[in-house]
Symmetry: C2
Subunit: 764 residues, 2 copies
């Protein structure tokens, strides 16, 4: 049941909207404001004396966003109806209407951290009119009037706000090309920030923690991003969600919500050294605008972030058709770090579920033939006998196997047996399909067909075998970022899944996008991912998208998007390691946009114990158990090998027991990069699970069991780090304690450096 | 039945192939040669003292191509295994093998100008090895050896030659990016040329006739190309097929054959003013190479054409995976212009038919709901009530019609009746499907869905109505060049066709390619067209592709590609007119690559007689009848309105009678831009049809009926221009004469300015 109220608070058609344009400059700036339901957050809007829209935001009367401009630069459009240049949507605006309203609904997600989500905000919608004289069509044409209307909509919640631009359909604005969106976020101080370097294609770098003023310096040192960053567009460019903390203890987070057919936003910080904002329009051969030009607009004050969209192959940022709108640009704020984690602001700013039937969508615990290939012990590819492969020219039955191919019948059956025995729902199998011999970074368009198994993978037999044991196989579609090829094969690939009984697919987007010049975060690729989700839904297929775009809460609208990667996952433990604080940052940043398929659960942290890989996982076993709670996801992998779990079966009991869908969640302790403790109530039960994860410093956790039902007893099992546990020197030292507890009691737990704990609380 | 012989003439593994590389420079250049079967053409190959491959070509000992270099510049590949730069495939080669062989087969096309086509050539295949020291991977890496092998294959016919580059699979050459292909064609004189300005997207300009030395001057004057050329890459850049004539009467034609997954080739003429060949690599945001750089290779002598491939959005020309090869680069030559028209060299250089079942492919005569929209009398779109359309947001049943929509039930039935009455096989209907309200040049990706009819087009009823009368509807898929959108809808669109009984589709590619930055002639788009043809074949659908790439004979391999546009068609008679000589040029140029859907048959040449269009067709009625023969195509439209044909039913009798598939064809008279006369024998009959078309000068045609069966009598009907006929002042003046003729007689016919004639010869 959805409770919903919408109440119009005021609708002011400002009187001077009818005044002649020539008087505009003399008029006082228009201003409106709206407060959050609890009054803590205030959003003020105005138009400055050049007609540029300005907003500012406070939290308990402290500045969060100082006065900041809003607007969009438009690109030349050779098809523009009036002359060569589209006029920017930057200035010359006046307010023609301001509408304030309240909205309050409670909705139920298909899966989630809580059974109910309240969507309660006050809204300010400002209608702005730009009246200009612009060059008419043809050379030497006279100036002609042009009237364009946009709406800037603000939604103010108790834990933050979202704003977006809306472009109604109108005679003078039907199509436009975006050169750059210029949404500013003027920070009130030199905050501490947890940031990733701006990049059009990946979020798999290590998070940097610096003051804002130190961002440029970090770019200029030979910093190890932990990944080959391919497209640094500015030496102060960072990605979102960007978590910050102010000197006086405010937590601020900037991100976006509901990025559908629009380019992903980065933030470019203006600092003391900034000379101009970059506007890299590369031209291409259909050149619209000469290559890199500085923005003609005045530079905002230092410590202001300015939006920077991901370009397409020609350098343009987007092609729009009215009626349309941008994604929401979000600023979350609180003086309690836990509010950053419990916030539903991003989900609430997305559209309600568009799928009529969601009965086929289910949270899933899975294992898979995966980690041993990541570690290098076995291979995705079947043969080493060809320097390159053309799919239509190979008779696979005659190919010499390399003896290392993991996705073979025997091994897959072993994993199916393990899943069946341990109550895991599905088994992922990577490397099942032909094409892995030369799959990445070759500019090879026709890299996979997604329907042809290797000769040693009997797709029918294995699915039958799994189904007989109550287990499903989980499909894998590595696209190698050849999005065109994937779209060509999509329908047949999903039909194959339907035929054999797969209901979920892990997609992959490793490498450069084909068609060449495009980016993982561009408008066209964001549309591609959406197309995939929609086509998958038609086939009742759940999607877990790796190396794809940065998520922005679309899983509310399309809950078959059950997971994603878009950050450094556990795989990096085999590529040099993730810092111990990594998983204490991700919930503040990457997870704001939706659940992450982090693939936790590495028990055998020293890879050299069973492979040639000298990398090691920087986490204790108790710590990795905690991730099943602190890294919320409806899709949870037990990523290690069955034989490793069998060695620590008492600890593995927690993975068997833990739920992955919840009626309630309580963030008990949190500090970005330091520690996170959360208690969650398993869906449809009275059982609770608690997880605590900390950084390399360790953490003393104090857990008040006041979330339990009063008067009821719970069988409590605690999986804690042993006293001498340490992520590097003694990661496997854990202690399992069982006792009976009840509401009101307090648990005091010591988390080792790089460690954590997990607790199950089963109602008697 | 295919007759085929292949005979190895010689295989010389040159002895010095085993000599150390250091001796290379001291060695005499290697050289080989091969002659055409009749000995008229000789091709000589050598390697110069820098290891650059060189070829030259003579015809009856006269230079056709003077010594010209061959090679490819490769682009930086950030994924290259050895350092940042791929080494060019331009020099440092030595010959390791030369193989000469003869090939002779006769094959039968599914449809064509003749029943049998002889493919008879002598071949020279040169294996070249390049051994270099190149920079190893990583900064400061030492030089490492690199050995690469390519094959240059020459096929020499009696009427020309083809050459191509082949890249065997090998350890040092698995993937490469093409910066530019540098195939040279050094002309032996300042020939007269019929050329189109180089353009990456269209061939719909008016042909220019100049000396080679005058090409640059033509670009620099305010020439009316008859079309907005969007991508002039060089002021001496021209398109192929390029027809030339030498001062001493040789006809030379440069084109290409079998361009599949490769960029379309242009030719850049080096003249006295050329400073450097352009290498426009725009970089894009994945920049491989900085923006425009001059080629580092020495400039060839003036009057040399150099290949210039169509770029992708990043400026690159192609991504290749070995084993692979380029298209054939062709040079046709003869001292008889008729040989340019009767040549099968382009078809012969394409692969044999790849479709197992071709029974569903048939030559087709059709009419259609089309010309009245082109003229502006009615509209493709259904409503004028929306400034723009989003397909998923319109309830078409509630939309207000504009009253001008042509593809309505009543009108389509009228065309079906006309087709049935006159023995036309199909009826094209454009504008049947939703989306035409804002279809072109809006950067609108989701422009059509190809399955939803407008409310006044009852797709089931109309197909049933047509089928009951023995007629089919001909599908229309305007893609608006949103190739990604078309690929997404392709399967459903063809399934709809199968459901309702369509067996042919006219596709359209008006406007800029989406994804943005790509071009109609790029590698990726050429692959797109091929993908469409292949998917269509799976659904037994014939394709007639408009505004697509320039054809190169693929219809041999995929005979369901029954037609194409890729030049100024009849539609331009409504856009200012085609010059009277236009159709006397196209068979020498555009038609070399395959049949053109020119859509002839405009009887009412003065459009203002029935519309507001003041344009007029520059042709007589007798001349337009001739086009059904001189513009060979298995797909022939009667493009004018039924009511216009009904006014001239005696002339229309020829369109009813004329065949569109042939057992034999004899080009009787030809001179580029002046006149063409051809006699064709209708498939499976003893009947002949003769057509003659001339330019604005008129022509006296002398036709010896020596192609008829000796001793047999034929009912001859001649549709000739009246004495006072003239394409401008008196286009409808024709005279129909009937008589009985036999072999050995001679017909003398006067073609009026812009006129022609048509003859049917029905065997008694």
């Amino acid at each position: 049941m959805i409770m919903e109220t919408r109440r119009l608070i005021s609708a002011v058609k400002t009187a001077w909207a009818l005044l002649p344009v020539c008087l505009l400059a003399c008029l006082p700036a228009a201003a409106g404001s709206v407060k959050s339901p609890n009054g803590n957050i205030e959003l003020r809007f105005s138009v400055d004396n050049t007609g540029r829209p300005v907003y500012e935001m406070t939290y308990k009367d402290r500045a969060v966003v100082k006065p900041s401009h809003l607007g969009l630069e438009l690109a030349k459009d050779k098809h523009a109806s009036k002359g060569e240049n589209e006029t920017d949507l930057m200035d010359g605006f006046r307010v023609v209407k301001e509408e304030v309203s309240e909205f309050d609904e409670t909705w139920q997600p298909v899966w989630g951290e809580t059974r109910d989500i309240r969507n309660h905000y006050n809204e300010l919608a400002v209608t702005l009119r730009q009246e200009l004289k612009v060059k008419g069509g043809g050379p030497g044409a006279a100036l002609v009037p042009q009237v364009r209307t946009i709406v800037i909509r603000f939604r103010v919640y108790d834990d933050g706000m979202g704003l977006r631009y809306e472009f109604p359909q109108q005679p003078e604005l039907n199509y436009f090309l975006i050169k750059e969106e210029r949404t500013e976020f003027a920070m009130a101080g030199d905050h501490t920030a947890w940031w990733l370097p701006g990049d059009y294609d990946t979020q798999e770098q290590m998070t940097q923690q610096t003051r804002l003023s130190e961002i440029r310096g970090r770019f200029n040192t030979a910093v190890n991003w932990g990944n080959s960053s391919v497209a640094v567009f500015s030496e102060t460019g960072v990605q979102t969600a960007l978590q910050m903390k102010t000197a006086d203890g405010l937590y601020i987070n900037i991100h976006e919500a509901a990025c559908l057919d629009y380019a992903t936003m980065h933030l470019e910080l203006v600092d003391a050294e900034t000379k101009a904002l970059t506007t890299k329009l590369y031209g291409g051969s259909n050149a619209y605008t000469p290559a890199p030009t500085p923005s003609p607009w005045p530079l905002p004050a230092p410590l202001t972030f300015v939006s920077h969209l991901t370009p397409d192959a020609t350098g343009l940022k987007g092609a729009m058709q009215t009626p349309c709108e941008t994604p929401w640009r979000t600023v979350m704020v609180s003086d309690d770090a836990r509010d950053m984690l419990s916030s539903n602001l991003i989900l609430n700013l997305n559209e309600p579920c568009k799928l009529e039937d969601t009965s086929w969508i289910h949270p899933t615990k899975y294992c898979g033939v995966w980690w041993e290939m990541i570690v290098g012990k076995s291979s995705w590819n079947y043969t080493n006998d060809y320097p390159s492969i053309k799919l239509d020219q190979i008779d696979w039955s005659c190919v010499k196997p390399n003896g290392r191919h993991a996705a073979n019948n025997e091994k897959v059956k072993r994993y199916i047996d393990f899943a069946a025995k341990n109550g895991l729902d599905e088994v992922l199998v990577e490397g099942w399909n032909v094409g892995w011999e030369d799959w990445a970074n070759m500019w090879k368009r026709d890299v996979f067909d997604f329907v042809t198994p290797y000769p040693d993978f009997d797709i029918k037999m294995l699915n039958d075998y799994a189904h007989a044991k109550g287990v499903k196989l989980l499909m894998h579609h590595e696209t190698s970022s050849s999005s065109q090829n994937y779209e060509r094969h999509l329908k047949e690939a999903y039909e194959l899944m339907n035929k054999y009984g797969y209901d979920a697919v892990k997609t992959g987007y490793v490498g450069d996008i084909i068609p060449r010049g495009d980016h993982h975060y561009s408008q066209s690729m964001n549309n591609h991912y959406l197309y995939v989700i929609q086509e998958a839904a038609k086939h009742h297929v759940m999607v877990n998208s790796h190396e794809a775009t940065r998520p922005t809460g679309l899983c509310r609208t399309y809950p078959n998007l059950v997971g994603g990667e878009s950050a450094r996952g556990t795989e990096y433990e085999a590529f040099g390691g993730n810092n111990p604080d990594h998983t204490c940052i991700l919930p503040f940043t990457r997870l704001q946009g939706g659940p992450m398929d982090y693939t936790p659960g590495i028990f055998e942290t020293r890879l050299e114990n069973w492979s040639d890989n000298t990398s090691w996982a920087r986490i204790t076993i108790a710590g990795t158990l905690a991730l099943y709670l602190t890294m919320y996801s409806p899709l949870q992998m037990a990523a290690d090998l069955p034989e490793h779990y069998e060695q620590y079966d008492d600890a593995f009991q927690f993975i068997r027991d833990v739920a992955c869908d919840w009626d309630d969640s309580r963030y008990l302790e949190a500090e970005p990069g330091d520690y996170i403790t959360v208690a969650r109530k398993a869906k449809g039960t009275d059982n609770w699970f608690v997880g605590g994860k900390c950084d390399e410093q360790g953490h003393q956790s104090v857990i008040k069991l006041d979330f339990l039902d009063k008067g009821r007893q719970y069988d409590c099992t605690i999986y804690a780090d042993a006293k001498d546990a340490h992520y590097e020197t003694n990661p496997k030292a854990y202690v399992i304690t069982k006792k009976v507890v009840k509401a009101g009691q307090t648990l005091r737990l010591t988390e080792a450096p790089g460690g954590g704990f997990a607790i199950s609380l089963i109602a008697r």
